[in-house]
């Protein structure tokens, strides 16, 4: 399946992917209206070891630990192999967060799990973090 991969040698740490992610998943059609004066909670996070920066989002693992730990069935793989979240089933226990080796699942303020779903559940249909990265540091490809 096509997945998001990160090339840390090209990442400048501009955090634009975080804003584009928050916009893509806001349900609002204008980036300024969607983000201005708002605290964002994106599915991709730019981290750093002090020297190098890199974006981290869900890896859509072949055998995802998050799904094997999910007690409510809220996390599952769709037919393409992407790990998707059904918020209506989630009870917010945090088991997925406990096992994700990338720290890529979180419990939001609403009390349910959220993570990168490859922009398949919004109107963009393709990962906006990839499309808008000015440096090609995030790619969406088949490996």
């Amino acid at each position: 399946m096509k997945k998001i991969y990160v090339k840390e040698e090209w990442c400048l740490g501009c955090h634009l992917c975080e804003f584009e992610c928050a916009y893509a998943n806001s349900g609002i059609g204008n980036i300024v209206l969607a983000l201005k004066d708002k605290e964002i909670d994106p599915n991709v996070k730019v981290l750093s070891d002090g020297k190098i920066t890199f974006a981290v989002s869900c890896r859509h693992c072949d055998e995802p630990l998050c799904i094997s730990a999910c007690i409510s069935g809220a996390l599952s793989k769709d037919e393409t192999g992407a790990v998707m979240v059904d918020k209506s089933k989630c009870v917010g226990c945090g088991s997925c967060v406990m096992v994700c080796p990338y720290g890529a699942v979180r419990i939001t303020k609403e009390g349910t799990a959220n993570k990168c779903q490859l922009c398949m559940n919004n109107t963009f249909g393709e990962p906006l973090c990839v499309k808008k990265c000015p440096n090609g540091a995030i790619v969406f490809e088949e490996k």
């Binding site: 991969y5 990160v6 090339k7 840390e8 981290l47 750093s48 070891d49 002090g50 190098i52 890199f54 974006a55 981290v56 890896r59 693992c61 055998e63 630990l65 094997s68 730990a69 007690i71 409510s72 069935g73 089933k89 009870v91 917010g92 226990c93 945090g94 088991s95 997925c96 967060v97 406990m98 096992v99 994700c100 080796p101 990338y102 720290g103 890529a104 699942v105 979180r106 419990i107 490996k143």
Partner: protein, 409 residues
């Protein structure tokens, strides 16, 4: 076509079905379930009691999971295994197998307490039927005594609270969650919940006098509804009587094989390899059941698979307090307090053995991964890890592999 029989209808069985089907598309699978219900998620019962989710959603893979997977279901109690003839007997019928999985789970432990038979409303809290029975009594109201302040008792209390009932929780231990937390973390939980729960700790139950519990100290607690949450015991009988090696649970190797040929076991019923201690342990956890079941399933279908990364772990949200832990609380402790949050890391010989977090758990998975992979860390890295500056501590090559492409988790 190979015949697979799976005894038990919970998470280990689900894992086994997935494991078998990944390696043998034409598998002939039969599930024998004494609980006589489609696959459902037992840890969800407290969330249903609490009305955070619904009875329907307990069937977390859909009520037709077995049908979707092409698995035959038999709602009957398995009574006997004949390892010579390779058949399972259940309620008068015989089910032949080529490979057998015993995933009989565990059963609430109910000690012999004088006067228990005279208690008018008494419950355990383990199955969907237990929850439905308790809910029926709670809807009529009254004061609830929960004996046992472990995870089951505490999660039950959270559900009970929804019904406006007064709650007393008693335990012989000096603090709540004695097994799942450290003394420090348990005390934080106790302090924060003491306004809503009347804790009776260090309290050994002596006997019941009608609907009144009498403790060894002479202290008495009246109640309307009693919940016994004193832990669970593996149901090892079927395998014990045919000579499989059994300790507290059924002993299995890393392939989830019992000591008898063509018989595997997984889930709450087994003592399996635990990666932090390197010993066989009774873990009785949801992810262990699923992954152990999956490992068993693959091996049953002839694809070699080893389960080498099983460790204790727990994540829960208790009355708004998030508690997340993994590994063992052994070795040198490093602890920090960040606002209301408490975080402690346990390490030995430059390797993290365990952690517990009260509050924000956002980076817990990375700590768990450090434990599972036995990834070495420096002394000063411990505080970095607890501060959430974690992913940067991965060796650069490993991180590049993880983010840039193929990486085994």
């Amino acid at each position: 076509m190979k015949k697979y029989v799976l005894i038990g209808g919970s998470i280990a069985t689900e894992g086994a079905i997935e494991g078998i089907l990944s390696a043998d598309k034409s598998a002939d699978i039969t599930v024998i379930c004494g609980e006589k219900r489609p696959l459902y998620s037992r840890p969800l019962i407290s969330y249903v009691l609490e009305k955070k989710t619904t009875d329907e959603k307990l069937y977390f893979r859909g009520e037709d999971y077995y049908e979707k997977k092409g698995v035959k279901k038999v709602f009957a109690t398995a009574e006997k295994i004949d390892p010579e003839k390779k058949i399972v007997c259940a309620e008068g019928l015989e089910y032949p197998y080529d490979e057998l999985l015993v995933a009989t789970g565990s059963k609430p432990f109910v000690p012999l307490i004088k006067g228990l038979e005279g208690v008018s409303k008494k419950h355990t809290f383990y199955t969907m039927d237990d929850m439905i029975g308790l809910r029926g009594d709670l809807e009529k109201g009254g004061k609830v005594l929960i004996v046992g302040a472990g995870l089951i008792g505490m999660k039950c209390a959270e559900g009970v609270k929804e019904y406006g009932c007064e709650i007393v929780i008693a335990d012989m231990a000096p603090r709540p969650l004695p097994a799942a937390t450290t003394p420090e973390a348990g005390r934080i939980v106790q302090d924060r919940l003491s306004a809503i729960i009347d804790f009776r700790l260090n309290a050994a139950l002596d006997h019941f006098d009608g609907d009144k519990a009498v403790f060894a100290s002479g202290e008495e607690v009246d109640f309307d509804i009693l919940v016994l949450a004193l832990g669970v015991r593996p149901q090892v009988g079927l395998l014990k009587e045919i000579g499989a090696e059994v300790n507290r649970g059924i002993l299995v190797n890393e392939k989830m094989q019992t000591t008898l040929p063509h018989i595997y076991a997984a889930g709450d019923v087994v003592e399996s390899y635990e990666a932090v201690s390197g010993d066989k342990r009774l873990l009785q956890l949801f992810p262990s059941a699923y992954l152990g079941g999956k490992t068993a399933g693959k091996n049953m279908a002839g694809e070699e698979s080893l389960f080498l990364t099983d460790i204790p772990m727990n994540a829960t949200n208790l009355f708004g307090i998030r508690i997340t832990s993994a590994g063992l609380f052994v070795g040198e402790k490093t602890e920090v307090t960040v606002g209301e949050d408490y975080r402690a890391l346990y390490a030995e010989d430059g390797v993290i053995k365990g952690f517990i977090l009260i509050g924000d758990s956002a980076r817990a998975g990375i700590l768990t991964d450090f434990i599972r992979k036995k990834r070495p860390i420096g002394e000063k890295d411990k505080k970095e890890l607890l501060a959430g500056r974690d992913f940067a501590l991965y060796p650069a090559e490993e991180r590049k592999a993880a983010l840039g492409g193929n990486y085994e988790i």
